[in-house]
Every structure is written in structure tokens, then in C-alpha cells.
Symmetry: C2
Subunit: 248 residues, 2 copies
């Protein structure tokens, strides 16, 4: 399993991804799922993936090697995409290329070949954007109404995002709430685990402000987990017990 | 969709179920999913269902009309089961009967025919028990290690149960935490909705201590939802922002 979330607020972008992959519960490994492509000051792009690891890795390799555009003859990569929208389209095209070859073979073998990506970033002169790209290569874009997107095991960590994240949320509060969402997911699904990779990009900076890996035992994250647990316990203790009586 | 949870603590049993059914988002109805079978002081049994409504209703009707035991000739119902374990077995048998007829036809039509039940209660002289019964009629029993079971849309509401419920939790705190779990689910999945039916059974009473329906606008539940939201906001605000700096 995997859990990745992207949060796009007024001040910038947060992306968080776990690193656990598993082929069955008896075959667990650590793979980076959050990848950064940047020419600082010019462009920053981050790609997080969930689903079949062989397919998502092939999609990334395709995007780095490039795909020849039959009309222009240009070799199109992520790094030479002129806009974030065109870059998202290229990711979609790379997904369809990989699905057409490996995806079909996996389907014939009844192996799950779903993949999904979060793709966020900014190219100088253009807006900071965040996309979620599906297994068929189509995609949606994050808006101010719901300023976050999730891939992978998204349900456990969604309630806190729904309640706490708004477009005006401070950038580092966004990171903090994203980490709480990650913690809720890790607590309920063993397939999501440390280390956690995270990225913070301030709007119009076109470079990472923070790129960090939280390793097991890291003190701040451990403290966040304990404080959140204690706060939830205190929160429900503060609510009065139900006054209900059976109506006859 | 559906969300039902059962909580079995030292002092007794709580069962909570929503009432929303939907065949697509454009066809939403209200159906009671939590059903009570009781001879007060002698036996109390409660059955909550999720999944295909036509199948779960047929299972309940089968359990009320009874199934003839080919060996003894006895017509076996829920109400004449000698123990909770034997009652759970009868539910399993009723599920298999229904799956063998309607389930196969639904499968042929590619219609989902999964169902699941929570079954809790006590027969005088026996213990208070809680079971989760699967689509194949097999079942598991709730234990003191993890004193709750869930069916339906269980993920959104699981983190708060994992954190807050223990076997020694007060009975009405259990009800309160179950309602918070229901609230988290309702917030994130429109397929789960009010009214909510709930049941509280004190251990060894063999009758309902509380059987209640929370209707839309009911003041305590509305207050609980608001307090919980406010407490979550306060909880994450109290946690310091991440101190991370990029490591070069």
C-alpha cells in the first residue's frame, strides 16, 4: 500500500509520501515514492506515485528518457515541458504507453495494474498547480474549494484533512495537518509506513523550501503522534455523555 | 453504503448503524439496518447489516421464519437458538441459503452480492457476545484485545476507535466514541447518513437499556459534531509546527 497527499494553499504546496511497498504482507520493502525534478528558480516539479511499482517506475523512466512527439520530432520530457498542464498531459501519455504494453500483460495474468500519481509544482511565469493523474492517464486539478488531493490508502487520513485544511491554512500548518493525516493512516494500515518523504514549495519560488525525510524515531514526528493521540483522548473526554433515554 | 459498528466493553454492548441505502447516488433511501430481537430478561439479540439490501433482508426473513433442521426436524429461528454461538451459525446458514439462490443470479448479472452482519447480544445464562458474519456465512468474534467490530464503510471511522476504545472504556463513553466514529464517516461519505439507530445493552441484563434513533437536527448529536470539530481544530493548533530544515 501507499499513502500520498498533496496540499495546495495560498502560500504554497506541500507533498507527503510514505515509502512502504509490499507484495503481500510477507514481502515489505522501502522505496521512495516522492520524486523531485527541479532547476532551482526556473522550475520545480514533484511526482508521487501509488499502485503497481513496476508500472509507476516505468512511467517515471519514460518521462526522464522522453517520448518522441511524432508531429514535431521533439523528444518530450518532464523537464522540457513548457507548462505544468502540458507536463501533466505528458505523464498521462507515459501512463498510457506503459499500460498498453505491461498493463495488458498484467491484466492477462490477473495482476492489479492500477497506478495513480500526484503531480505538483510550478514553472517560472506560470501558476503553482497540483494534479492527480489516474490509471488511464486522465487527470484532475486541485482547486481552492478542496485544497488537497490524495492517492493510495486515502480514507483513514481524510477526515482530518476535511476538517482542518482550507485554502488560507498556513503552509507549515498544512504540512503539520498532512503529517497528522499520514499518522492516522499508518496507525490503521500496516502497508503504510516510515520513512516519510516530504516537500514544501513556496508559491513563486520555483525551488524546494524544504525537502526532508522523516526516519523512524525522529523526535518531532514522534511527539506529533503522541500529542495528537493525547489531544484526541482529551477531546472525546470533554464531550458530555449521550443523554438519550429509550422512548417507549 | 452503510456504516455499522459494535463495541463490546466490560460493562456491556453498544451497536450503532446508519440508515442510508443507495442504488447509485441518484437513488437514496432510508432503511433500518439495526434490528432487535428480544424477550426482555431472557434474551436480547441485535443484528446490523451492510451490503446488498435484498439479500440482507432475505437473510433476516429466513431467520424469523426459520430453517428446518434436516436431522432433528426442528424449525430453527434466531429466537429459539439455545446459545449466541448457535445463533451466529444459523445466521451463517441463512446467508449461505440466500447466496446459493439469489447470490448466484446476482453474480451472473454482475451485481454485487456481498453482505455482512454484526450480531450481538446475550441469552440468559450465557455470555454477552459480538460477532461479525461474512458473505460466506463464516464469522469472527469480538475479543478484549480489539473490543469493536465494523461493517460497511469502516475506514473513515476506524482511527478514533483505534485510539479511544479499550475493554475498560465506560459503556456510555463507548457510545459517545461510536457516535464520533459515525460522524467521521458521515462527513467523508455521503452514502452514510442520518437517522442513526443505536442500542446499548448492559452485561447480564438481557434487555435493551437504550434503544434510540437520532434524527436529523437532534441537539446532542449536533453538539457532539460541533464540539469534535472544534476540538480537532484546537488539537492540531496546539501542536508546534514542524522544525524541519532541508539537509544539504
Amino acid at each position: 500500500m501507499t499513502y500520498c497527499c498533496g496540499i495546495l494553499v495560498r502560500d504554497g504546496l506541500v507533498m507527503i509520501a510514505d515509502t512502504r511497498t509490499n507484495a503481500g504482507v510477507d514481502n515489505i520493502s522501502t522505496f521512495r515514492k516522492l520524486h523531485l525534478y527541479t532547476t532551482p528558480g526556473e522550475r520545480i516539479m514533484a511526482l508521487a506515485s501509488s499502485g503497481n511499482l513496476s508500472l509507476s517506475q516505468s512511467v517515471r523512466s519514460t518521462l526522464i528518457e522522453g517520448m518522441e512527439n511524432p508531429e514535431t520530432g521533439e523528444v518530450e520530457t518532464l523537464m522540457n515541458a513548457p507548462t505544468m498542464f502540458k507536463a501533466a498531459q505528458r505523464i498521462g501519455r507515459a501512463i498510457r504507453n506503459v499500460q498498453n504494453v505491461e498493463g495488458k500483460a498484467l491484466e492477462a495474468a490477473s495482476v492489479d495494474h492500477e497506478i495513480a500519481f500526484l503531480f505538483g509544482g510550478q514553472i517560472k511565469g506560470g501558476p503553482l498547480r497540483l494534479f492527480m493523474i489516474y490509471s488511464a492517464g486522465n487527470f484532475i486539478e486541485c482547486t481552492t474549494d478542496t485544497p488537497y488531493l490524495q492517492i493510495g490508502e486515502h480514507k483513514y487520513g481524510k477526515p482530518v484533512l476535511d476538517r482542518a485544511i482550507g485554502f488560507d491554512t498556513d503552509l507549515y500548518d498544512g504540512l503539520k495537518i498532512g503529517l497528522i493525516s499520514m499518522d492516522s493512516t499508518m496507525r490503521s494500515n500496516l502497508g503504510v509506513g516510515l520513512p516519510i518523504d516530504l516537500l514544501v514549495v513556496r508559491r513563486d519560488a520555483c525551488e524546494p523550501e524544504l525537502s526532508y525525510r522523516i526516519e523512524p524515531g525522529e523526535p518531532y514526528f514522534q511527539d506529533l503522534r503522541e500529542r495528537w493521540s493525547a489531544a484526541l483522548r482529551a477531546a472525546h473526554m470533554d464531550i458530555p455523555r449521550p443523554p438519550y433515554r429509550t422512548e417507549i
